[in-house]
């Protein structure tokens, strides 16, 4: 079968831009093209559109517009938050806390800070990927300036008890940043309700364009910029604003907020159909992440005896686009740090497979996967020496 990827189940890597979003962006390429920093009408018009979008993104977060800083990617937002906040408060202390399953942009930012004299405590997660708020309380020291715990994990879908964690950080007087790149626009991310001090989100995760993202930072919380230069974004992020991208992100945020509960209602049954179907049809397959506290469209598994990459290739031949983990690291053949942190062993972690269901997916898509995937697994297992060993051992037991 020709690989046309009719069934796209990698919405966690990126989503398709909605037609309404693209339509909203179009005038800002060739018609309203002014630089929003310019004082003339051309610039003013672009600036007005940008500020309207800032308001829409703020609404998605139940935040104030002036607290939103537009950036280029979720990665940049996470770098800006982790390095920027920690550096701004380094006179107060040089200790930060993250979890063992953070995205590389948070983890590696923390590693950069550790080279600058910060110490980093990495709190573990349980087998479902949950961070224990008490563990955060235990990790906070006198010199802790920042805790960064993701809202939802892109590889295993687990949603953290952020409100409980925020209660801990608030009590300790420590700032809390959350990487909400996988969650924002898909589940509620009301910053007042969550109680966080900073939050990263990326437009391409909720049907907006790539190349634009944002960082929300509560008013009064200081952070140093990542890029120095002009005074765009209130001096918090130098560089000409990506006006069409920002307009697209605003539109996507507006739509996401409006449709969020409906989307959840539609996606969760599809997700559960896939999870239940796959785990029932294929033996020695586990769901990774939390069974219920997970992103609405997120179904992730470890299939024993075979490799995720091989499954992806075979699924690709059946027109199914899926992932073996984070797109950011898909070139790395190492086992995922997230799966290892759940206590999954190296061998099983190699069989990682992630389906992320999006708004375009139908029940037929799910049934297509349920139909083709068992045969894929069978075929790969037949070639697997590990599976052969397992079968022989099982027969020996009988």
């Amino acid at each position: 079968m020709a690989a046309t990827n009719k069934v796209y189940l990698d919405n966690g890597a990126t989503t398709r831009v909605l037609p309404e979003v693209l339509e909203a962006m179009l005038p800002y390429f060739g018609e309203v093209y002014g630089n929003p920093s310019s004082l003339h009408d051309w610039g003013e018009e672009a600036k007005d559109a940008m500020e309207e979008s800032r308001g829409k993104v703020a609404e998605l977060l139940n935040a104030n517009a002036e607290e939103i800083v537009f950036t280029s990617t979720g990665t940049e937002s996470n770098n800006l938050a982790v390095k920027g906040i920690a550096s701004a408060y380094k006179d107060k202390g040089k200790h930060i806390v993250i979890s063992a399953i953070e995205h590389f942009s948070v983890m590696h930012s923390a590693r950069t800070l550790s080279k600058e004299g910060f110490t980093v405590t990495t709190v573990p997660v349980d087998k479902d990927g949950l961070v224990d708020p008490d563990a955060i309380a235990g990790a906070i020291q006198k010199d802790t300036v920042l805790v960064s715990i993701m809202h939802a994990n892109g590889e295993i879908g687990t949603i953290q008890p952020l409100k409980e964690i925020a209660a801990v950080t608030k009590k300790a007087g420590v700032l809390l940043h959350t990487d909400a790149v996988a969650s924002a626009g898909n589940i509620p991310t009301d910053v007042k309700d969550l109680g966080v001090d900073a939050l990263s989100l990326a437009s391409n995760q909720f049907y907006g364009p790539k190349g634009v993202a944002a960082l929300w930072v509560r008013k009064g919380v200081r952070f140093l910029p990542l890029f120095d230069g002009g005074i765009q974004e209130g001096g918090r992020r130098a560089g000409t604003d990506n006006v069409p991208g920002i307009v697209g992100m605003g539109k996507a945020a507006e739509i996401a907020k409006k449709d969020m509960s409906l989307n959840g209602e539609r996606l969760i049954p599809l997700r559960d159909r896939l999870i239940n179907g796959l785990t029932a049809k294929i033996e020695r397959t586990i769901l990774t992440g939390h069974p219920t506290r997970r992103l609405p469209g997120h179904a992730s598994f470890c299939v024993e005896f075979i490799e995720g990459e091989a499954m992806l290739m075979m699924l690709n031949m059946h027109g199914v686009a899926a992932s073996s983990g984070s797109a950011c690291t898909s070139k790395a053949l190492k086992a995922s740090h997230v799966l290892l942190a759940l206590g999954i062993d190296h061998a099983l972690a190699q069989g990682s497979l992630v389906f992320t269901i999006g708004l375009e997916n139908t029940i037929e898509d799910i049934d297509h996967v349920l139909e083709v995937f068992p045969a894929v697994v069978d075929r790969l297992r037949q070639m697997s020496p590990l599976y052969d060993k397992y079968l022989k051992a099982r027969q020996g037991v009988k």
Binding site: N35, L39, H108, G229, T240, M313
Partner: protein, 397 residues
């Protein structure tokens, strides 16, 4: 009928229709994340690689030396911070000029806070970096030199190849690396930006300055040049710039730079002619006006003046009212009321620097546009001067 004449192309340009056309499929059809392994994602990967090849061919380098960023400011930050920090064991001295873009200057200020010493080379009255000062400034601790290819405010073109020869042949750099970076953000589409002919190790570009989209830039990093990544995360751009690739923006950049390069000769001829008409027209119609920047070694699209006895802001507002978009300097700092550091560095007195006006031409500007500006500007300046206390005082003297 109200006129709409855009003369602020140094601030940003409209996206070329063919650029937008090339970008469109990558929003809604070919929208995949190029880091994924399946077929449609690999098509995105191939498209990104194609754009990288296009940019590399124009820069005269191999594709792997081209890193896509979010814009010129990010590229400049990466160069100064990522380059200097990578060499901090070898030295802590940076050399730049007094008229760099804020992305370079502010990055240098950041490095000063980290214990680096920065020399801000003086420029002559035309804004050309003083090469004798450069020669003297390079010392055993110098690790990075950053001089822009052409200035965004006054359009002066720097002798980048000559600067490279000084940096690369200096005895203080023997046996070790002194990185040479150039901010070529204003140069693309107007000048040759071949990295070997310029002799640079790092170069910054911004797509929206050459009829490409905002939100995407290029950072050229010559192979084996010491560099520390400034944004950490995934392994995109060969571990040098983490973050999901802005696929449509990258595609747009490739097409835009290709078009700019193909049209460069025509563009330069067209803009230079209009530029010189505008400069000559203003000089002959208005008294007490000074062309800023170099009379000949300047960007083909840059017309910059200081008008005595008036504020640049007032001229801008009047021009805006007449349907003409111009600028008083850099768009990145246009909310600032300080006079331009670039003009002051060139020796323009503070009072005069307040009267700065920049008009930057583009492919769509016509002779009629120039006629209209010339017919409007003299009256505006005359009216503003008639209400200026400075002008009155001077008239009495």
């Amino acid at each position: 009928m109200k006129k709409f004449i855009y003369l602020d192309h140094a601030a940003t340009t409209p996206v070329h229709s063919r650029v937008l056309e090339a970008m469109l499929p990558f929003f809604t059809e070919r929208f995949c994340n190029p880091s994924a392994v399946y077929t449609v994602a690999q098509e995105s990967r191939k498209a990104v690689d194609g754009a990288r090849k296009t940019v590399a061919d124009i820069l005269g380098c191999v594709p792997r030396d081209v890193i896509f960023t979010s814009g010129g400011s990010e590229s400049d930050n990466m160069a100064i911070k990522g380059g200097a920090l990578a060499l901090k064991e070898s030295g802590n001295h940076i050399i730049t000029s007094a008229i760099e873009h804020h992305a370079v200057t502010e990055s240098c200020h950041f490095m000063e806070k980290l214990g680096f010493e920065v020399t801000y080379l003086p420029v002559d009255r035309y804004g050309v970096a003083r090469l004798d000062a450069l020669e003297k400034a390079i010392n055993q601790r110098t690790v990075l030199v950053s001089i822009m290819t052409a200035n965004n405010e006054v359009g002066t073109i720097q002798p980048v190849a000559e600067i490279s020869r000084i940096v690369k042949n200096h005895p203080a750099g023997r046996g070790r690396t002194i990185i040479f970076h150039t901010d070529a953000v204003q140069a693309a589409g107007s000048l040759d930006i071949n990295v070997d002919r310029l002799g640079v190790d790092m170069l910054s570009l911004s797509s929206h300055k050459f009829y490409g989209p905002k939100g995407v830039g290029v950072f050229y990093l010559r192979r084996n040049t010491p560099f520390i990544s400034w944004q950490n995360g995934g392994s995109q751009e060969r571990n040098r710039r983490a973050g999901t690739e802005n696929v449509s923006g990258i595609i747009g950049t490739g097409v835009a730079l290709q078009l700019a390069e193909e049209n460069r000769e025509h563009y330069v001829r067209h803009c230079t002619r209009l530029r010189d008409r505008l400069i000559e027209g203003i000089m002959s119609a208005i008294q007490d006006v000074h062309l800023t920047g170099h009379p000949t070694e300047r960007l083909p699209n840059n017309v910059s003046f200081c008008f005595e006895y008036v504020e640049g802001e007032s001229i801008l507002l009047s021009l805006d009212f007449a349907g003409i978009a111009a600028s008083s300097g850099s768009a990145c700092t246009s909310a600032s009321i300080e006079p331009s550091g670039v003009l002051l560095a060139m020796g323009v007195p503070v009072q005069v620097a307040h009267g700065s006006l920049r008009m930057t031409l583009g492919t769509d500007n016509t002779d009629e546009d120039i006629d209209y500006v010339l017919s409007t500007l003299a009256g505006i300046v005359e009216r503003l001067r008639s209400i200026s206390p400075l002008a009155r005082k001077s008239a009495h003297v």
